[in-house]
């Protein structure tokens, strides 16, 4: 391939252009000097000799320009000639051009859309200064690698580590604001003073927190978001120093955080209010065994690797375990990069999708290649004439490649439009499944990708037809007038069809496995009935915290009775502690008859739900033994507990738990003395799915207990003021939204200081727990459908072409007595052979490829025989339908007409 070598030499020349020119000058200088020396030797004076040599050599600049022309200008000339010719040829057959460009636009557009998602989520750096040095930190707990950190441990981590420049803790905060217009419950977080500096976020007004704000007994301060500043303070430039009542505490606004700051990770969402975490009033927060849902961010020192940081923290933790063995025995920290935490489980999903969409593009390319091949048949005379007139084979190939690249670039341009629309559509279908969704768009890298993919696609689908056409024997083409059947050409087309079928098969398997996964997930019994249940939050007026436990309980009783009277309410229950598929809360315990472990760190954990008597009916959780709570289980009666079947099985194996005691940690007492509250088991209920349909079975934490809301210990009951949840079952004739609105109106009518917000139907909650699977199903399903369509069009096109080519043969056969059925069989057999080979290759490819999906699947293996069988049958069926049309046409060939053709 001399023309490729020449292209390579030219590109190299282009890259080293100025150096090459300089060397040419040096070469010519040497020549002139050699001439001069010879003339001097012949006796000419040096100056004259020099001038004579120059004169004889001629204009050096012109020579160097001439050289440049040889390398570059002629080339550009050829290329632009090819380009003009290509455009003219494409304009001459608008139908072909439209189909090819559309097919490519679909393929390239879908690729661009998926790549821009991958780019936004996986590739582009996080929008934080030093993003690659920021890590997320957790305290590893017996049942969770990403458990919450206790504040004293965090402070010791901060002090004792050697690998981090800085560490910052964060956790949820109560964001009720009062005193500025209507009371509102806003998203709020407690953060360390180091939090925003680690992320490189500077307030647009005022300052970040400093160490003085971030400690016990500090003057209460608050940072507000730019959005809140505009909404509540009318963008007042003098807002810094103003007072804002947050959670009943008057706070001084010290700064405004820009709206450009966005962060969404497991336990942190961009908020409207940020409070200093160290300023917490509740002294229980400062106990070493307190796990208040606090996680941390840290900035590694430059040059420190993740591994070094982990080793360093292992050293720190060993020290803390030795110093506080009771609660810290076996203390470990989990450290992952912030990017990994944000992207989480979406990385394999997105890579699988990117691979899948690559297949779709290849199928599109193959279809266009087939179109080009078919078209080149009718252009054979044109090619032959051009070759006869002296066009070289390489020149012809380049010319045809130019045509295909032009097609691909047109397709790519249209593809960008499709991609822009596709991204919006994909994000609208599954908005919550995707982290960093707001960073997804068509940026420079995506445009470059699209351009590269277009060029590559153009070469990919153009090469085979171009080489085939250019290598045709001229004499034959001219002789047979472009009607001949080229054996090698139909072989190429058959190979293409087999390839498309194989790729479509792989995609269908991918989609099939995801569909089965979703079906399996929907079949998982969550242990409760999410239909016609709505949950919402209530934030009572903050001053409730200052009232006596008795009046708080009176408030709760009154709240419940007013909720029950709302029309449409069937059952209702206040809820606290863990929330199904949303948040978890645990307590350490030991059961009667066993010896409590010596160290608190060795206590087993159980999920805890604080609920009211009707909770079981709200969630339709089955009662298996004994009884559930009644209104009589209140602050005056014996403390009771209801356990779930998993708890009973694990801790009361073979015994009747009813009547036994479960002793749970009493966090109300002071830190110096560990004590337990004995609770009598009165019943056993079914296990509920706490961690999501796909993940619950994987969790090692299965035990669950229910505690009566009214028996909540004294100190804890004050926290009601921070907000409680309500779960309500409504009449099936209503819908969640309208029921909630009625409820809200009625509650606010009774008590205008309350905030009732954040409603969500339990169906949504359950669906959200499998959002990433739904995202994958939607996209893989779409890709597979697209692939199936393109592959069917491909096999249809090729068979039609072959039938067209064989019309005469068929005519002869029929004239010799072949029946319609024989002809049908003849054509279908052609199609079936290609399809079966395609499927055979597809099976092998799928067996190799689907294991990359293993982490996305649930209840089905990557090589699920049922999926493989169904997909094979579906693909065969659709393929045969596509074959039937040309076969039918062949069947009705009129032998007379076909033969007259000759």
């Amino acid at each position: 391939m001399r023309s490729w070598k020449r292209l390579w030499l030219r590109l190299r020349y282009l890259a080293q252009h100025s150096q090459r020119q300089r060397l040419l000058w040096e070469e010519m200088d040497f020549h002139i000097e050699s001439m001069t020396q010879d003339l001097v030797r012949e006796g000419m004076p040096e100056r004259e000799a020099h001038a004579a040599a120059h004169r004889k050599f001629g204009n050096m600049t012109r020579k160097s320009e001439e050289v440049h022309t040889i390398w570059i200008a002629q080339w550009v000339d050829d290329a632009s000639q090819d380009l003009r010719y290509a455009l003219r040829m494409l304009a001459k057959s608008p139908g072909f051009t439209a189909v090819a460009v559309l097919t490519l636009a679909l393929g390239i557009g879908a690729n661009t859309a998926i790549f821009s998602v991958v780019n936004g989520v996986l590739i582009s750096p996080l929008p934080f200064r030093n993003a690659d040095r920021i890590v997320s930190m957790f305290q590893e707990m017996p049942d969770f690698p990403e458990g919450s950190i206790s504040y004293p441990n965090f402070l010791d981590w901060q002090r004792d580590n050697r690998s981090f420049e800085s560490m910052a803790a964060y956790r949820w905060a109560n964001g009720t604001i009062t005193g500025v217009g209507q009371p509102e419950n806003l998203p709020a977080r407690c953060i360390s003073a180091t939090f925003f500096p680690i992320l490189g976020v500077n307030p647009i007004l005022g300052r970040n927190f400093n160490a003085t704000d971030d400690r016990r007994g500090a003057d209460p301060s608050v940072l507000i978001s730019e959005g809140l500043w505009q909404r509540k303070f009318g963008s007042d430039p003098n807002v810094v120093g103003k007072r804002l009542v947050v959670g009943g505490t008057g706070r001084t606004i010290v700064g405004v955080i820009p709206a450009s700051f966005r962060l969404k990770i497991w336990n942190f969402r961009t908020a409207d209010l940020y409070l200093p975490i160290g300023e917490e009033h509740d002294e229980r927060f400062f106990k070493r065994d307190a796990h208040w849902g606090m996680d941390a961010l840290a900035l590694m020192k430059p040059g420190v690797t993740l591994d070094q940081a982990r080793k360093d923290m292992a050293r720190v933790n060993a020290g803390l375990a030795a110093a506080y063995p009771d609660v810290n025995a076996g203390l470990k920290s989990t450290i992952i990069t912030l990017k990994d935490e944000i992207v989480g489980e979406m990385r394999p999903v997105l890579l699988v999708l990117l691979g899948a969409i690559g297949f779709v593009l290849m199928i599109a390319c193959v279809n266009v290649a087939n179109l080009l091949l078919a078209r080149s048949t009718s252009r054979q005379r044109e090619f032959a004439i051009r070759v006869a007139l002296g066009a070289g084979r390489a020149r012809m190939t380049m010319q045809l490649l130019t045509e295909s690249v032009v097609l691909a670039v047109l397709g790519g341009g249209l593809g960008l439009v499709i991609a822009k629309w596709g991204i919006a559509a994909a994000l609208a279908v599954v908005p919550r499944a995707l982290p960093r969704a707001e960073e997804i768009g068509l940026d420079g890298r995506v445009l470059l990708f699209t351009f590269a993919v277009s060029i590559l696609a153009g070469i990919l689908f153009g090469l085979a037809p171009a080489l085939k056409s250019a290598s045709r024997n001229i004499g034959e083409s001219l002789k047979d007038g472009g009607r001949s059947i080229s054996g090698s050409r139909s072989r190429t087309q058959a190979t293409f069809v087999i390839g498309e079928m194989a790729m479509a098969f792989v995609l269908l398997i991918g989609a099939g496995l995801m569909i089965r996964t979703l079906l399996e997930l929907w079949r998982v019994d969550p242990g409760f009935n999410p239909h016609h249940v709505v949950s919402f939050g209530i934030n009572p007026a903050p001053m409730l915290a200052e009232q006596s436990p008795d009046s708080i309980r009176a408030f709760l009783r009154q709240l419940r009775s007013s909720m029950r009277s709302v029309p449409g309410t069937e059952y209702v229950s206040l809820e606290w502690g863990a929330q199904l598929m949303q948040s978890d809360s645990e307590t350490g315990f030991w059961v009667e008859g066993q010896t409590p472990p010596a160290r608190q760190a060795d206590l087993p954990l159980t999920l805890e739900y604080l609920v009211e008597p009707e909770y079981l009916q709200v969630m339709r959780i089955p009662l298996l033994r004994g009884r559930f709570f009644t209104d009589a289980d209140d602050e005056h009666s014996t403390p009771v507990v209801v356990i779930d079947s998993a708890f009973a099985q694990k801790y009361f194996a073979g015994e009747d738990p009813v009547g036994k005691d479960v002793n749970i940690l009493d966090y109300d007492t002071d830190a110096s003395r560990r004590s337990f509250l004995p609770l009598q088991v009165v019943g056993v209920v079914g296990h509920v799915n706490q961690f999501g349909l796909a993940d619950d079975a994987k969790s090692s934490l299965q035990a669950q207990i229910y505690l009566p809301f009214l028996q909540t210990p004294e100190m804890r009951v004050k926290s009601v003021a921070l907000g409680i949840s309500v779960f309500a079952r409504y009449r099936p004739s209503l819908n969640a939204e309208s029921f909630f609105q009625t409820m809200r109106k009625q509650l606010l009518a009774n008590n205008g200081d309350m905030i009732v917000s954040d409603d969500e139907s339990e169906e949504e909650v359950v669906a959200r727990s499998i959002a990433s699977q739904r995202f994958s199903v939607t996209l893989l399903g779409t890709f597979a459908a697209l692939a199936l369509l393109l592959a069917s069009v491909g096999i249809y096109g090729v068979l039609s072409y072959l039938v067209g080519q064989r019309t005469q043969e068929i005519g002869v056969r029929m004239a010799l007595g072949a029946r319609h059925f024989d002809v049908l069989r003849l054509v279908l057999a052609d199609g079936a052979r290609m399809m079966l080979m395609g499927i055979a290759i597809g099976v092998l490819a799928a067996l190799g490829l689907t294991r990359w999906m293993a982490s996305m699947l649930f209840g089905v293996t990557p090589t699920d025989p049922l999926t493989f069988a169904v997909v094979a049958v579906v693909l065969c069926g659709i393929g045969l339908c596509a074959c039937y049309v040309p076969a039918h046409r062949a069947m009705h060939v009129d032998p007379i007409l076909a033969l007259r053709h000759e």
Binding site: L9, L23, M28, I70, Q74
Partner: protein, 112 residues
């Protein structure tokens, strides 16, 4: 993309052929090539010094010769050219064609 054609006063392609032929004798720099052609033709053919360099670049682009920097007899940096296998093949084809053409011209002119 066809072969890049020369634009000298000689018959088309003749300079290329002469350069290639010269290089069958060894590696030479541009000046030496020009000198050799002149000497071998008993001073009848004079290579137009300037047009030699575009010709060399064209031959290089076609992959018939390769240039390499080295040191000349008088100890200066110079670019030495050598024939590639492709170039040798091209030279054979060109000589055959040239023989045909000159033969035909000679017949017409009645020299034969």
């Amino acid at each position: 993309m066809g072969t890049e054609k020369s634009k000298s006063d000689l018959l088309p392609g003749t300079l290329d052929m002469l350069v290639l032929k010269t290089l069958t004798r060894g590696h030479f720099h541009g000046y030496a090539i020009a000198q050799l052609i002149q000497q071998l033709s008993d001073d009848l053919l004079r290579v137009e010094e300037g047009s030699l360099y575009p010709a060399l670049q064209r031959l290089e682009l076609n992959g018939w010769i390769e240039g390499e920097w080295g040191t000349s007899a008088n100890n200066r940096r110079a670019r030495f050219y050598k024939l590639t296998p492709d170039g040798r093949k091209h030279l054979t084809e060109e000589s055959a064609r040239y023989r045909q053409v000159t033969g035909a011209v000679a017949r017409i002119m009645g020299f034969a």
